[in-house]
Point group: C2
């Protein structure tokens, strides 16, 4: 089957709106297919148009209900929307090497975004299942990051780590009809005031939007906040800067992954094992062993 | 102060049992001190003696209470025990580069283990706060991994991802006096049977120990399971194999970290930015950019 794969044709079909072609491309990039490079190269010229939105938050705040609500609202505006649900903790049985959590970057997420972008989706929604470091690293690749909270979910605002506050462009307090919602909003305002997040030039003031996603309330307000953030990104040159960061993270991750693979292969895979043996035997410290490994690589 | 740091003397004082010297060494390796290499080199000859135990499990199972119980029980046996509490999700405000989550390996944990090992601690207990991929990667560096569960904590056994089952050497069902404890044990037995974990040669059968850590019940049984696993590790050559893997992971992480730093520095830091710019402009795909970056490195 691999031999019969016509990457150019597949990309053409995806761009023509064929869902099966899009799915095929997504699984090709997720599976780290031997022809991944070729696929990415074929997609590249058609990318750069999609608005990439990240959505994260602690368990129990209603992330998937909110994703559904936004999806419907964006589609009602006539937009094509693709959703990527990311759970970095799920591939527990998979190997780290192939997932390539290099520097916290999930290997396949930027490639999956690229597939949907090239296929002509106007909006790519990245929804994370949890809100650990890996999720933070993933959603920070988005143009705009929505952080969801809800009254009574986990330990509330206190449970939101500082890094999550920093990556948020828009806060959404979901389940806003419940007791405690206004407490959540007030605590959030206090934390925002404390975090004094400075962006280059004019500071973006993170808005707080109230929603009841299960009753489809607040979608318009979220879309408005997204539009305002998008306009701010463009007016401040921040969008280009974010995309530069996203591309740098990706190039760096690919290069490191390639270097890791070369390190493992050195001397037919023997170099790393022999150096490691000397570390176990305490003949070498691990830094000297790493230096030696790099010297072998550069020969 | 850095200029006055006498690494050899500090290591001598730590080996003589001075807690302040141990703390100082721990913060030196955690802070990625400029003289980290020197510190690690000075520690290396004295390492390899400590028994390294990892302890992980979902939130709410009583990990810190269990750590306290084990600590007391091991000390009652006359052992010196050091505890490292690891929360990979906590440095949300820190930079990824310095934490160096390369391939999921927390940068400082193996160095911290090395400090306690060289300082003459008989046992090093690594306790993780959560149980995500990073935590799994950390505890798998241990000689023996304890996985804690409890009835009613989270979604019980179902919530335990396959990878956690795979890394467990000993299961501890804590809060065993509660309703549902036997259900947890039974579910666990079923999952173990399903996972059919094969280790090289004879298979280690993961025991299930019941504890009530808050009432100090079951410590002896856990220690016995630890001893049995230790004996098995040694009889099967598995201990040497685990330590080889641990050292390999560490050498590889150090080498990749060094390479990452060199990639970022190439051309006075300009090479990566310029290649990235061409990716943003869709002149280059990220794989070709990464190839180019590696070629620059090897020049």
């Amino acid at each position: 089957v691999t031999g019969q794969l016509d990457v150019g044709e597949l990309v053409d079909r995806a761009r023509a709106g064929q869902p099966r072609a899009v799915s095929r491309l997504l699984s090709l990039v997720e599976d780290d297919h031997p022809r991944l490079r070729e696929v990415v190269r074929a997609l590249t010229p058609y990318t750069g148009n999609a608005q990439v939105i990240g959505l994260t938050g602690p368990p129990g705040v209603g992330k998937s209900t909110s994703t559904s609500m936004l999806l419907a609202a964006l589609r009602a505006q006539g937009k094509r929307v693709g959703v990527l649900a990311i759970d970095p903790s799920s591939p527990f049985t998979g190997s780290l090497a192939t997932r390539g959590h290099l520097g916290g970057l999930s290997w396949s997420t930027p490639q999956s975004v690229r597939v949907l972008d090239a296929a002509g989706f106007d909006v790519v929604l990245i929804e994370t299942v949890g809100v650990g470091q890996s999720e933070v690293d993933i959603v920070r690749l988005a143009d705009t990051v929505l952080v969801l909270l809800a009254p009574g979910a986990g330990d509330g605002v206190q449970a939101v780590k500082a890094g999550v506050l920093e990556i948020a462009d828009v806060f959404v307090v979901n389940k806003a009809d419940r007791d405690g919602a206004e407490t959540t909003v007030r605590e959030l305002k206090n934390m925002i005031a404390l975090s004094r997040r400075e962006l280059r030039g004019r500071r973006w003031r993170q808005p707080i939007v109230r929603t009841v996603a299960a009753q489809n309330q607040g979608a318009e307000e979220v879309l408005q906040a997204l539009d305002e953030h998008r306009a701010w990104l463009e007016s401040e040159g921040e969008l280009a800067s974010r995309r530069q960061i996203r591309a740098r993270t990706e190039v760096e991750a690919i290069a490191l992954r390639e270097l890791r693979s070369r390190l493992a292969d050195l001397g037919g895979g023997e170099a790393l094992e022999m150096l490691t043996k000397r570390v176990v035997d305490r003949e070498l410290d691990p830094f000297t062993a790493a230096d030696e490994l790099i010297r072998t690589l550069r020969r």
